[in-house]
Structure formats: structure tokens, C-alpha cells
């Protein structure tokens, strides 16, 4: 009788472990479904770069301004395109995801570089991926953390902080020299430093521009805001005027007499 009892005891002791492994896979598969739905979008470090300068941080820690655009591709994978708007330089990575041993595992492929393998854990809505320590992960360049708010990646000491951009549809109406107003509709910009310019080939109105920022103040007592800036002429650095609303606002408009503009959250149209 000892042997059957021993086998029964072994089975009993193994059962929770086997159940645990199975449930870990199920949890990871559910997490991966939600992660796949969350990833597509446009992300920028506009605010990080802006406030690095404003706070007089050292130049040798100044990360470049980047846009990250993640779009679905075949087989449940994604394309991650990184653009430096100042230089126009682009890089592209192909991302694929699977569940392995109870965790989400990603493979990041870039031409001319070894693949980067990361293992993700999810805690409170944040997916954190750490390089799997093997030779193929040498090019990973640090961790990745993804959440509905955006991406953080790179070196833990000085990571890129890429906030998710919300898309707005705008119209701009510049005053012409005869005091009538022009009208340009269906201008799409995002709230992480997105810009657009309206020009007149015939010179009947000034060159005018708009820009949106969702400003999260890192210091001081200013409240976070969604800001719409107005530009006039060739000066692309200094706004002539601006207006603001709460950071989650879905519509924002300006009437400066020499131009009017209105932007509405694209999802609300």
C-alpha cells in the first residue's frame, strides 16, 4: 500500500504547481491581448525635452526629441517607427509577442542589429519588459515600460519618457487683407507638440500656425493644462498667443481677431 499512497501524495503535491503554471499562461495570454490593444498609437517626449531645457539640466544628459509611432502589422506583431523631428532621421523595429513560461516575451528586430528579447511582467496596468540575459539581448539598450499613459524606455538613470498623444481635428481661419476670413478644415495634429501651418500662396493672409501641448508641469504650482498656441509669420519658435483648458479637455478654440482656430478631439467627432 505504500507505493500507491506515495504516488497519490506526489500527484497531490504536483497538482497545485501544474495548476499554477497553467493559470500563469492564461493570465499572460489575457495580459497580452490587452497589451496588443493598448500599443498602437503615437508617442512623443516633447514635454521631457522641453522641461530638460527649462530646468537647466546638463547638456550631456539631454535626450533627443523623438516621436514613436506604433502600428499593427501581420501576425499580431507591430512596427515601431522612431523619428527625430529635428533631423528627420528614422529607425524602424519589428515587434512580435508570445506567451512563454507564464510570461509575455517580446522579440524586437532591427536591420543590422541582433534581436532583442524581453520578458514582461504586468503590475497595476504597467507592462515592464527587461532584457533576457543572453547574447541576443546585447542590443536591447535597457528596459521598456508600457502603460495606457505611454512608454518609458532606455537607461533607468535617464530614460525616454514618451507620452501617448491624443489626435485632434482642427480648423484655422486667418483674416485676409480685405478683412474677410479664410478657412482651412480637417487639420490633424496631436496634443504632444503637434503642429500645423496654413499658408496663402497669393499672400492674402499671413502664414499662421497652431500647436498643441498637454503640459504636465514638473515643478511649481501651475496646474496641468492642454494648451493651443498660435504662430504668425516665419517665427516657429515663439508663439504670438495661446489659450488653455484642463489637461483632458476635448475641445479648445482661440479667437485672436487676426486668426481663429478650433481643435476637437478626433474620437469625439
Amino acid at each position: 500500500m505504500r507505493t500507491p499512497l506515495l504516488i497519490a501524495a506526489l500527484l497531490a503535491s504536483c497538482a497545485p504547481a501544474a495548476a499554477q503554471d497553467s493559470s500563469a499562461d492564461k493570465i499572460a495570454e489575457r495580459d497580452l491581448r490587452e497589451m496588443r490593444a493598448m500599443l498602437p498609437g503615437t508617442y512623443t517626449n516633447e514635454e521631457q525635452v522641453y522641461f530638460h531645457g527649462e530646468l537647466d539640466r546638463p547638456a550631456d544628459t539631454a535626450l533627443p526629441r523623438l516621436d514613436l509611432i506604433i502600428a499593427p502589422r501581420d501576425a499580431g506583431g507591430f512596427t515601431a517607427r522612431t523619428v527625430n523631428p529635428a533631423t528627420g532621421r528614422e529607425t524602424e523595429a519589428r515587434l512580435s509577442y508570445s506567451v512563454r513560461d507564464g510570461a509575455i516575451v517580446s522579440r524586437e528586430q532591427r536591420d543590422g542589429q541582433p534581436d532583442c528579447i524581453r520578458r514582461f511582467t504586468r503590475v497595476l496596468g504597467q507592462y515592464r519588459g527587461e532584457p533576457v540575459p543572453d547574447a541576443a539581448s546585447e542590443s536591447c539598450g535597457g528596459f521598456v515600460s508600457a502603460s495606457p499613459e505611454g512608454f518609458v524606455f532606455g537607461s533607468p538613470d535617464n530614460p525616454f519618457v514618451m507620452k501617448r498623444a491624443r489626435e485632434f481635428r482642427c480648423w484655422v481661419s486667418p483674416r485676409k487683407s480685405d478683412n474677410s476670413y479664410g478657412f482651412t478644415n480637417n487639420i490633424t495634429i496631436h496634443d504632444q507638440g503637434g503642429r500645423a501651418w496654413v499658408e496663402s500662396e497669393s499672400g492674402e493672409h499671413d502664414r499662421v500656425g497652431i500647436k498643441m501641448r498637454r503640459v504636465d508641469w514638473p515643478t511649481g504650482r501651475n496646474r496641468d493644462s492642454l494648451v493651443l498656441y498660435a504662430y504668425r509669420g516665419q517665427d516657429e519658435d515663439n508663439a504670438v498667443s495661446y489659450g488653455w483648458t484642463g489637461p483632458d479637455g476635448d475641445r479648445l478654440a482661440l479667437n485672436l481677431r487676426w486668426m481663429q482656430a478650433s481643435c476637437t478631439l478626433a474620437d469625439n467627432e
Binding site: D60, L63, S155
Partner: protein, 111 residues
């Protein structure tokens, strides 16, 4: 220094030289020394004499050549968290081609 010194040869197509020098260049220089390397050359304006297809890494490219005690030292630098932090500073600022080569034993020593 061992017989198997190693050289890291970087060809760079720099889009924003000011950002490259003040950011990446300033952060990387102390790391090269920290991990046992030394610069032999850093400069712009390489002249291309021959190549079938070099893309942006041809005429006018910038080059950096550094010397390392051995390949392991160079790879410790390349794979370090320190360098990962510095490397981020050149994202979209410069495209680079990086080669690592051991000094062959038959290389003549300078007189």
C-alpha cells in the same frame, strides 16, 4: 598592453553636429577612458577613395577610432549600462556603423 589590442572603428553620418558633440560625445568620452580605451582619432570629413556602396558612410563622414587593451574590454564598454545611457543621446541625431577588429599578431610595432 597585451599583444591582442583591439580597435573600434566608428563611421558616423551626423545630422546634428552640435547635439552630437554636446550630448553623446561629451557623455561617451569619459566612458572610453573608464573602460580602458583611448581615442586615436575623432573627426569629420573623411575622404572616400573606394567603395561599391557605402550609403551615408562615404565621403564627408565622421570617424572615431579607439584603441582597447583587448576585445573583452571593448565589449564591456559596448554592453555597459553606462554606454546604453550615452547611446540614447544620439538617437535620430547620427547614424553609425561600428566595427571591432583585433590587431593581428603580425602587425608591426612602431619603431
Amino acid at each position: 598592453m597585451s599583444e591582442m589590442r583591439c580597435y573600434m572603428i566608428v563611421t558616423a553620418d551626423i545630422a546634428d553636429r552640435d547635439a552630437f558633440i554636446s550630448g553623446y560625445g561629451a557623455a561617451t568620452a569619459p566612458l572610453v577612458a573608464k573602460y580602458g580605451g583611448r581615442y586615436l582619432l575623432r573627426g569629420p570629413g573623411a575622404r572616400l577613395l573606394e567603395a561599391p556602396d557605402v550609403g551615408a558612410f562615404g565621403d564627408g563622414a565622421s570617424m572615431v577610432i579607439s584603441e582597447w587593451p583587448d576585445r573583452e574590454a571593448a565589449m564591456r564598454f559596448w554592453n555597459s549600462d553606462d554606454y546604453a545611457k550615452a547611446k540614447a543621446l544620439r538617437a535620430g541625431v547620427a547614424d553609425v556603423q561600428v566595427l571591432l577588429i583585433d590587431a593581428p599578431k603580425f602587425t608591426s610595432e612602431p619603431a
